[in-house]
Assembly symmetry: C2
Homo-oligomer: 389 residues x 2
């Protein structure tokens, strides 16, 4: 086990009517709040009105900025920073999914910074301060409601980059599974893939002696795998939605990654698909992660066997170790197909092979990967692997 430090200071309020706690939590955001949201779905589900009522009840002044799109844009982050400075905003309330929260995090670090916010994402500078962020989550997937990370896209240069710090973990996160009943099947399934991948990016490691975190990872994976089909067949199944929502938070607050080297190559490789083609992140991961597994699994066959046996109940068969390892990958792909996710690039309508430029961009900050360090040639080979039936 590797040495680590860990803190997860987000106040979670989980359950039916979790949003009722907003009036108690909102003072943590100071005297004037930016209400940040997406393209209006929070108005359709009645959440917008409840939030406004709670802000008024708490006598909290606010300004609004909606319009966050999936793969949130740098342009809107910059607009939010300008607005917050002009309006003397002291904290940000993000109501929506991971894109809204990631956008809020960008604004939160940009407001007190004298330079351009993109500096954080291009690794020119480190996060040293941020406005406090609170969230009401409506799409379980990204785990941003308790995570250290933010991913933002510069549409001008088709660059989708990440930055992170404990300083941008939200101070509170209100999670009501009922607000996820109206999620369409595609988003429910893509969210499950995103969560599973957050776990698997940590699970596939060469660090020895990581029994507890392995088992915590397996607990999360099995829960997501068993509850996603239930939520798809009965969108109003409260308990299935609740299991998924809580799993999504714990998949990415980094508890399960402590003491072990993680990987994240697949995330960087997928980000280029999203940046180039506007692909839904989870759907892109459903294609890229299995391709990555096929390409790298021989580096650590025992770990892929453990995954197959413990997560997918593949029987261990002496003398057929590699086959056992590959059967785990096949089961993951079969699961993705069963929940309506793509598993090949052509399923995403991608056939024009921009592999060279995507690999170039994915490698911008150096080599990728923990389980196996990847070169540009490896990344191109993984995109090619993702073509194959």
């Amino acid at each position: 086990m590797l040495d680590f430090s860990f803190i997860s200071p987000t106040q979670i309020v989980f359950g039916r009517n979790a949003e009722d706690s907003l009036k108690d939590e909102i003072p943590k955001l100071g005297t004037k709040v930016l209400l940040h949201y997406g393209e209006g779905s929070i108005k359709k589900i009645g959440l917008y009105e409840r939030v406004i009522a709670a802000l008024k009840q708490a006598n909290t002044d606010y300004v609004e900025l909606g319009g966050v799109i999936p793969n949130p844009s740098l342009a809107l982050v910059r607009k939010g920073i300008d607005l917050c400075r002009k309006e003397h905003v002291t904290g940000i309330l993000a109501v929506g999914g991971g894109s809204v929260i990631d956008s809020a995090k960008g604004i939160a670090i940009g407001v007190p910074y004298s330079g351009d916010v993109w500096d954080f994402y291009t690794r020119k500078t480190e996060i040293t301060t941020a406005l406090p962020i609170g969230t009401i989550l409506t799409i379980p997937a990204a785990g941003s409601e308790a995570s250290t990370g933010s991913v933002v896209t510069d549409e001008d240069t088709q660059s989708k980059f990440h930055c992170g710090s404990d300083l941008i973990r939200p101070v509170f996160a209100l999670l009501n599974p009922e607000y996820t009943f109206s999620l369409p099947p595609w988003q429910t399934a893509a969210g499950a893939v995103d969560m599973l991948t957050h776990v698997m990016e940590r699970y596939f490691t060469n660090t020895p002696h990581v029994e507890l975190s392995d088992r915590l990872c397996e607990a999360l994976m099995r829960t997501i795998i068993s509850n996603t089909p239930k939520a798809l067949s009965n969108p109003n199944d409260y308990n299935a939605r609740a299991e998924i929502m809580w799993a999504g938070t714990l998949a990415h607050n980094d508890l399960i990654g402590k003491g072990r080297q993680d990987d994240w190559a697949s995330h960087d490789i997928e980000h280029e698909l999203s940046a180039q083609y506007g692909v839904t992140h989870g759907a892109g991961l459903a294609v890229i992660f299995p391709a990555w597994m096929k390409y790298v699994h021989k580096v650590n066959i025992p770990r892929f066997i453990q995954y197959a046996v413990r997560v997918w109940d593949v029987p261990y068969t002496a003398g057929e170790e590699e086959e056992t390892a590959r059967e785990g990958i096949r089961r993951l792909e079969a699961f993705y197909v069963s929940i309506g996710m793509p598993i090949r690039l052509k399923d995403l309508g991608i056939t024009d092979k921009r592999y060279e430029i995507m690999a170039e961009k994915a490698m911008r900050f150096g080599t990728l990967g923990g389980l196996k360090k990847l070169t540009k040639a490896d990344v191109i080979a993984i995109y090619r692997q993702a073509e194959q039936v």
Copy 2:
């Protein structure tokens, strides 16, 4: 799944040389620290000197109070409160095991309170403020390094009571598994029992639809079960010690108990053994918990079957459900015997049957238990169950 709120704000620093972070963390305790510890083992292992050096390096003023005993005493807590008031102490550094940390928590709530600190433990008043507490953990067992609870014993009345609040979670916890190498086998094993019981008090619930938290509980139990024998046979096995230490923290920071009703009857029933006979808490739990299981398991056979199958790999056999459930209990007892723990009252040298008085005291605050509400007669029956071979 039940609604819940959760926050775990303790900064964990884990690994070799974790105590080196003391100089960075100590400012969280303010300008003058009470250094609180036990009967001197921290001097034997060289930790005391390192702590003093770090306090000096950080220019932090301090006073000392050692002498905390297992089942920490109310008298010393009161002495600590007087000392802190006189010396204008702003925060408490607890160096030791759960008893030292629980004692520190008592002092931390007592200092700013105008009445007697025992009021918190007798439920006459609620915790509304506390001095900040930091810890360097040397005995993994109680989980107090990140928990909300404190258990203190009034030796005059032989009363061992609990109080709790998010306000007494330590602000930092430094965990170096190397400091547990010197723990004797008895304390290593009793610690494992304490941790396992913290998990089982949450695991045995009637709340339906708790898949994720069930699986997290199982992850912790399996990890403790597999690593304790390794630590006993090779006390310097860093990785086994590390798995146990991290499991002990996560067994009781309440992450795994969220969304489900917990029980805690066994803890209250055991506390009377400790109060009456000075029994080591973990050793008492090794006797009481299996007795409780035998007494209550028919209330929820499916849950005891799940425990047997998933934690102890007992094969599920149709038509033999009750037998399967009981086999899980037998495997737990066999495990306790294998690590040198008692499983009957006589193994603790207790034969004088003070069941009436202990049951009376255990019930002082009303009925006990979540899986099954227990009356005084039930508690007496559980003590009797604990006699039997």
